[in-house]
């Protein structure tokens, strides 16, 4: 799915200048925990998040995230936009909640990053993270 298609599905807005909307995304993930983004995404992922600080862009760069969608109508501060433009990571925004933004894309057949085993939230000796 191209970013242009994503944009029309989430009825979104482009935040960063020079955003290449012909870029392809092959899967998507919604997260506000950056460590989860680093752990569970693959290159080629579209990230939906409510965080707008520059670290989101840094995280995206390290994880090979194609583009970032800010949900809940949030707009990022100028320093986040500047960093994203420098790194060539397009920023989009949607007025919908995280749930609905992801839901719309999932309905349009954009797959997720995968499944996980259920891990107990008790601290056991079994420190197997599914990644």
């Amino acid at each position: 799915m191209t970013l242009a298609e994503v944009l029309s599905i989430i009825e979104g807005k482009v935040i960063s200048s020079n955003a290449d909307l012909s870029k392809e995304v092959s899967m998507a993930c919604g997260a506000d925990l950056m460590s989860d983004v680093l752990a569970f995404t693959h290159a080629g992922t579209l990230l939906m998040t409510g965080l707008t600080n520059p670290q989101v862009v840094r995280t995206a760069e390290m994880a090979g995230i194609v583009a970032i969608v800010f949900v809940r109508g949030k707009l990022p501060p100028p320093e986040t936009v500047a960093l994203a433009e420098e790194k060539g990571i397009p920023l989009l925004a949607s007025k919908y909640t995280m749930y609905e933004t992801c839901g719309r894309l999932y309905q349009a057949k954009l797959p997720s990053c995968g499944l996980f085993q259920l891990t107990s939230d008790l601290w056991s000796n079994d420190s197997s993270t599914s990644c």
Partner: protein, 318 residues
């Protein structure tokens, strides 16, 4: 040429990397029709005779042409139509009477895959290419696609070769018993504004050295988590030191305090001592060390309270 659909993997209750897509499949989606089409289109008009068409096809060594009337695309005519007309003795009939009016076209900005699907379903030898305004801008045959793909493969291969040359170049041209490249990055305590810059620079260095993208990603994630830990937890900041050898990279994150009281506890998923303001930035979920462990081939963590912490990450490159 048939493009197979990438098969969806059945999930086995765990995250699997996505199925392999061949380079050719990738290119079929990536390349646009305008990058491979023939721009110089030879056309005929509906008033021309089939006898004229015969000469046009013979002189240009082609097997069909689009038919234009006042610059508008009105049909397509091929050598097959010409042969039929020869059989029935209609060689002097106007092209307009024998051409196919119901034309299948493709857009110049579409992927090659769209054209391949049309070739497969209609069995035509050529497809006129139009722009979004409906103007004819080129013609596309399966030969054009094959040539375009080969050209792109050759270009990609050439780029790859340059990368490989650069990478091997450093380690092959500079001779020692053991050559390594040492990159040091200073990391300041609580400096979230610049957190990630060291990992970012290290990532770029490895890309330039020609390391595999999947490996670069593991190194980037591990070093970014390590750098974040230095920013969040250290009192005086620390250093990220990467030692790159042809077959492996060793990343060491060192600081001089405060030190980790209970390493076993620190390694537990979800355990974190990060303050609230860090959590608001999307960090401090207690997954950093686990992420590093998942990315590393070898990970060692040593710490003494009041002395400092040394985290060593080794990732194989070969």
């Amino acid at each position: 040429m048939v493009v197979t659909k990438v098969q969806e993997e059945k999930s086995k209750g765990e995250t699997k990397p996505h199925p392999e897509v061949t380079k050719l499949q990738e290119l079929v989606y990536e390349l646009k029709i305008e990058q491979v089409m023939t721009r110089k289109v030879i056309t005929v008009s509906p008033e021309d005779s089939l006898r004229h068409l015969k000469e046009v096809l013979r002189l240009n060594r082609i097997s069909g042409t689009p038919v234009l009337s006042d610059g508008e695309l009105v049909g397509i005519i091929s050598i097959e139509d010409l042969i039929k007309a020869l059989e029935t003795g209609e060689i002097d009939v106007a092209i307009g009477e024998k051409m196919t009016r119901n034309i299948q076209t493709v857009y110049a900005d579409e992927s090659i895959v769209q054209a391949l699907n049309k070739f497969a379903s209609f069995g035509f030898g050529r497809l006129p290419v139009i722009n979004r305004e409906g103007k004819l801008v080129g013609i596309l045959t399966q030969g054009d696609i094959a040539r375009g793909l080969l050209r792109q493969l050759e270009m990609d291969y050439h780029e790859e070769e340059i990368h490989r040359y650069r990478a091997s170049h450093i380690f092959e041209d500079i001779i020692s018993d053991q050559t390594g490249l040492i990159l040091r990055y200073k990391v300041r305590s609580q400096d979230f504004m610049h957190c990630g810059e060291a990992a970012s620079k290290l990532k770029r260095a490895l890309e330039r050295l020609g390391a595999k993208p999947a490996t670069v990603r593991r190194i980037a994630v591990a070093s970014y988590e390590a750098e974040t830990n230095l920013v969040i937890h250290t009192t005086k900041g620390g250093e990220l030191i990467a030692e790159i050898q042809p077959e492996r990279i060793r990343i060491v994150a060192v600081d001089q305090g405060p030190g980790i009281p209970d390493i076993e506890k620190a390694m537990q998923p979800g355990f974190s001592t990060a303050p609230d303001w860090i959590r608001e930035l999307g960090f401090g979920a207690g997954m950093g060390l686990n992420n590093i462990k998942a990315c590393a081939d070898v990970m060692n963590l040593d710490s003494k309270v009041g002395i400092g912490t040394r985290l060593e990450i080794i990732i194989n490159l070969a």
